[in-house]
């Protein structure tokens, strides 16, 4: 069964919602088995992640990072490339950001320092994806294999760099020194006090801008046309004169840069220093977001907010319900990936049959 038979409203809206509901249903069952009330838990979750302004602010803070990693995975997917390496690319992007900060935070003014650091994050993330892209384009080494290996290499490399070079003398935690205050991303509570003492910052606005640029580039530009043609039918793309190896290398560079930009929110928006394993799975969440959001800007946004809400709400939930451990979030995330990714078209035959019956 092919979901191409279905009208667009069904694939874009009904299928994701059904998949999401299925994941939630299984999650509810597990919460029930843990001895808690699913409906009450959902109430807590929604209240602390969406309804409460401070909670919503946290949700959007997490979502800011996820939008970038989701975009990273999505844009590569448009070219038919499954970039599993956003995790490592964001990690290395964080290094680029930190090096820029450590080098310039005492010499440059804030208006110059922040863009330079953002540039460092994008540059390092992009370069980390460049080699897998090159190997795929010129040598046919599968991008899934190379990017997943690059995640491990990134983790080891960062271990080494942080421990050997970045920990200031006399500090116990495995992280770099804190940056100067002028290097902090302006927080949105400066303008909207209702958000409370939360780290939601300008990165969120940058993420929205990135979504818009992504949408225009992919669907309205000649470059995006070539990108999608490459992803949908490489033979036709070759016939059309598209330089496929250049396209693959370029899109991986952009994908890596987007993943690298994910570190801006995490580091400059919150911690203000580089710490070990700060990515914490955001790159992998990006895969789920790209799958669930169907690589569409609105879909990516909604999925990113959903995952942000799950983290925020899940954290509060585990505080209030001792039977529900914090790991429940990872479990629900897994369910969403299962239903929205692996079983993406699970309900397609049923919907297709239903539509056929109605048409007679």
């Amino acid at each position: 069964m092919n979901n191409n038979d279905l009208p667009r409203w069904a694939t874009a809206f009904v299928l994701p919602v059904l998949n999401l509901l299925s994941a939630m249903l299984v999650a509810a069952l597990v919460i029930y088995l843990l001895g808690e009330s699913p409906s009450e838990s959902l109430g807590i979750l929604v209240n602390s992640a969406i309804l409460n302004p401070e909670g919503l602010s946290y949700t959007l803070f997490y979502a800011s990072t996820f939008i970038f990693t989701g975009l990273s995975v999505s844009i590569a997917m448009q070219a038919g490339l499954f970039n599993i390496g956003s995790e490592g690319q964001m990690y290395i992007g964080g290094l680029g950001l930190t090096l820029a900060m450590l080098a310039f935070d005492s010499s440059l003014p804030g208006w110059a320092l922040i863009p330079v650091a953002i540039g460092g994050a994008a540059l390092f993330g992009g370069l980390w994806a460049l080699l897998p892209g090159y190997l795929q384009a010129k040598r046919g080494s599968h991008i899934v294999v190379t990017t997943i290996m690059f995640n491990f290499i990134a983790a080891s490399l960062m271990n080494f760099i942080i421990v050997k070079y970045l920990i200031p003398a006399g500090q116990e935690s495995t992280s770099s020194r804190a940056f100067a205050d002028i290097g902090a991303m302006p927080r949105l509570n400066t303008w909207f006090p209702i958000l409370g003492e939360t780290p939601l910052n300008v990165s969120f606005l940058l993420a929205i801008v990135a979504l818009a640029i992504y949408g225009v580039m992919v669907w309205r530009s000649s470059w995006g046309f070539k990108l999608r043609a490459t992803g949908l039918n490489q033979h036709a793309a070759h016939y059309a004169g598209i330089r496929i190896s250049k396209m693959i290398i370029t899109v991986m560079l952009i994908s890596g840069a987007l993943a690298g930009l994910g570190s801006v929110n995490s580091i400059m928006g919150s911690t203000h220093y580089l710490s070990m394993n700060f990515v914490g799975g955001a790159g992998f969440v990006g895969i789920a977001i790209a799958l669930m959001g169907r690589q569409h800007p609105v879909g990516i946004f909604l999925s990113a907010v959903l995952f942000g809400a799950l983290i925020q709400g899940g954290f509060d939930l585990s505080l209030e319900k001792p039977n529900i451990p914090t790991e429940t979030f990872i479990f629900i995330q897994g369910l969403i990936i299962l239903f929205c990714g692996a079983m993406e078209n699970f309900y397609a035959p049923a919907i297709s049959a239903m539509l056929k019956r109605r048409k007679g």
């Binding site: 225009v216 530009s221 046309f225 043609a229 949908l232 070759h238 059309a240 004169g241 330089r243 048409k359």
Partner: protein, 514 residues
């Protein structure tokens, strides 16, 4: 047939089959006489394949019944069809390439745990069948060593071994040379003499006249008529298929070739394993002429077209376009080269439409700019979709693309309409040289006519056209000159006045020196 006076082997009664809103078969009624060769003709989408799939147990009919030997017989799956003596030879062979003929025949009827004993018995039986039906096949040969014609004989052998009494052949001659076709027909006649029944699905009307006893014509899922072959003509059958008269000889301007557009000299191509795919290809193509390359598919024509369109690099040789060498460059792959060639004025209608010519999941509109995407962007690199949509609407009107909805995914259009979009796109580029591969493959008769008209108009306007076709009818209808290829070599050249099926068939088989 005289031995079995109109005893029905198969009778279709009111067979109907719907796929959603598409009515593939509506009230199909006709009878296939025992011991006869029954032709089944119709355009693509006429419902022939659906009907045969119902007979072979692939589909379940929504209504109606099938009678075998006069008894109502439900056929629930293809195993049951095989048990009832129905055999099908598909257009695309169902053979395991790296197994022997014997193993392929045994596949699915291994006959128990001990393979060797059964294998010996099967081999003996196969040899016996080969002698009886004059099938020239070595049971111990490996499939990939066999020619296409021989592979088809293996398929037939398989059916006889499974004691098929009713043999369905779906477009069996599409991949055969004239000689191979003749020998296939010999086998079918022998088959018929043994009292077996044959259903021949084909779109080649000459073959219907050559070999069948009765012919059923389908159009739009219905039976339009069933007539004895003896009393009908090609024109009558074509009219029934299309529902209107078909022009046989399309008008064209007198042959008056201009300056050379393409000049190829000692072109060679080797693949990675040093296998020679093209050897010493040389020819000249002039403005305002159609040169057709005839040949059985897989004899180097596709590779030649790929090289000329920039999709593939030649190993060596000289190719001049409008007096200048084509810029193959020093790179080791042809990545991006088709764009350069297109800008020089070379357009290409690729033979494998779905693989190269279109992006199936793009809309019709997006497909109308494929290959020309960078010509239609503004200085920001963005498309003006209003202009592109207008251009697409125009194009669909001029080239009669149906349905005329540019937002539809092109995969939803019929093969003929997809092809019209590709042709329109390439014609609109106003090329100097048009490379055309199999322009009417999988396209129905009515559309073939309109495609042929367009190509002739292009020729009359002074474009040089290189046509690759495996259909001799098409070559005859379009070409000014004919090159025949076999085994990567040009085996002969004919003027259109010298057109001779037998001679071309011999050249296609590589028999140019004897």
């Amino acid at each position: 047939m005289n031995n079995h006076p109109m005893q029905p082997a198969v009778e279709f009664r009111n067979i109907s089959k719907h796929f959603g809103a598409v009515k593939a078969n509506t009230d199909v009624n006709f009878t296939i006489a025992k011991g006869s060769i029954h032709g089944l003709v119709g355009e693509n989408g006429a419902g022939k394949s659906t009907l045969m799939s119902i007979l072979y147990g692939y589909y379940k009919a929504d209504g109606g019944e099938i009678l075998l030997d006069g008894h109502v017989q439900p056929i629930r799956n293809s195993q049951e069809a095989i048990r009832l003596g129905i055999g099908m030879v598909h257009q695309h062979f169902m053979l395991v390439e790296n197994m022997t003929v014997l193993d392929n025949v045994m596949l699915g009827s291994e006959g128990g745990f001990k393979l060797s004993a059964h294998r010996a018995a099967t081999e003996a039986k196969l040899r016996e069948i080969c002698t009886r039906y004059k099938l020239d096949v070595d049971p111990l040969a490996t499939i990939h060593d066999l020619s296409v014609g021989a592979q088809q004989r293996v398929e037939i052998l398989k059916q006889i071994y499974r004691s098929a009494n009713i043999l369905i052949l779906d477009e069996p001659t599409a991949v055969l040379t004239a000689q191979e076709t003749a020998s296939l027909f010999e086998i079918l006649r022998l088959f018929k003499d043994q009292g077996k029944t044959i259903v021949l699905i084909t779109h080649k009307l000459q073959e219907i006249l050559d070999i069948t006893d009765t012919v059923t014509v389908m159009r739009g899922g219905r039976v339009i008529g069933a007539v004895p072959t003896a009393g009908t003509t090609k024109e009558e059958l074509a009219n029934m298929m299309v529902g209107r008269p078909i022009e046989n000889n399309l008008p064209r301007a007198p042959y008056n070739p201009g300056a050379p557009v393409l000049h190829v000299e000692s072109l060679q191509l080797q693949d990675d394993q040093q296998v020679k795919l093209l050897r010493d290809i040389g020819f000249t193509l002039r403005a305002g002429e159609i040169v057709a390359i005839a040949g059985v598919s897989g004899n180097g024509q596709s590779e030649l077209m790929e090289i000329l369109s920039g999709m593939r690099l030649p190993t060596s040789g000289k190719i001049a376009f409008l007096g200048k060498d084509l810029p193959y460059g020093k790179g080791h792959d042809a990545d991006g080269l088709p764009r350069t060639f297109r800008e020089l004025g070379i357009a290409h209608i690729p033979e494998d439409r779905l693989r190269n010519g279109v992006v199936k999941n793009f809309s019709v509109m997006h497909n109308t700019i494929l290959g020309y995407q960078d010509k239609l962007k503004n200085r920001w690199g963005l498309f003006n979709f209003k202009a592109i949509a207008a251009r697409c609407a125009d194009l669909m009107k001029t080239f009669d693309v149906r349905p005329a909805n540019g937002d539809l995914r092109i995969g939803l259009l019929s093969g003929g309409n997809q092809q019209k979009v590709v042709i329109a796109r390439e014609v609109l580029a106003q090329p100097k040289l048009m490379l055309v591969g199999q322009p009417t493959r999988g396209v129905d008769i009515g559309t073939i006519e309109s495609i042929h008209k367009q190509l002739l108009a292009l020729r009359d306007s002074g474009v040089a056209i290189l046509l690759v076709s495996v259909e001799l009818e098409e070559v005859r209808a379009l070409a000014d000159r004919i090159l025949v290829m076999c085994g990567g070599v040009i085996t002969g050249e004919l003027k259109i006045e010298e057109f001779d099926t037998t001679r071309i068939g011999l050249l296609m088989g590589g028999m140019h020196k004897s």
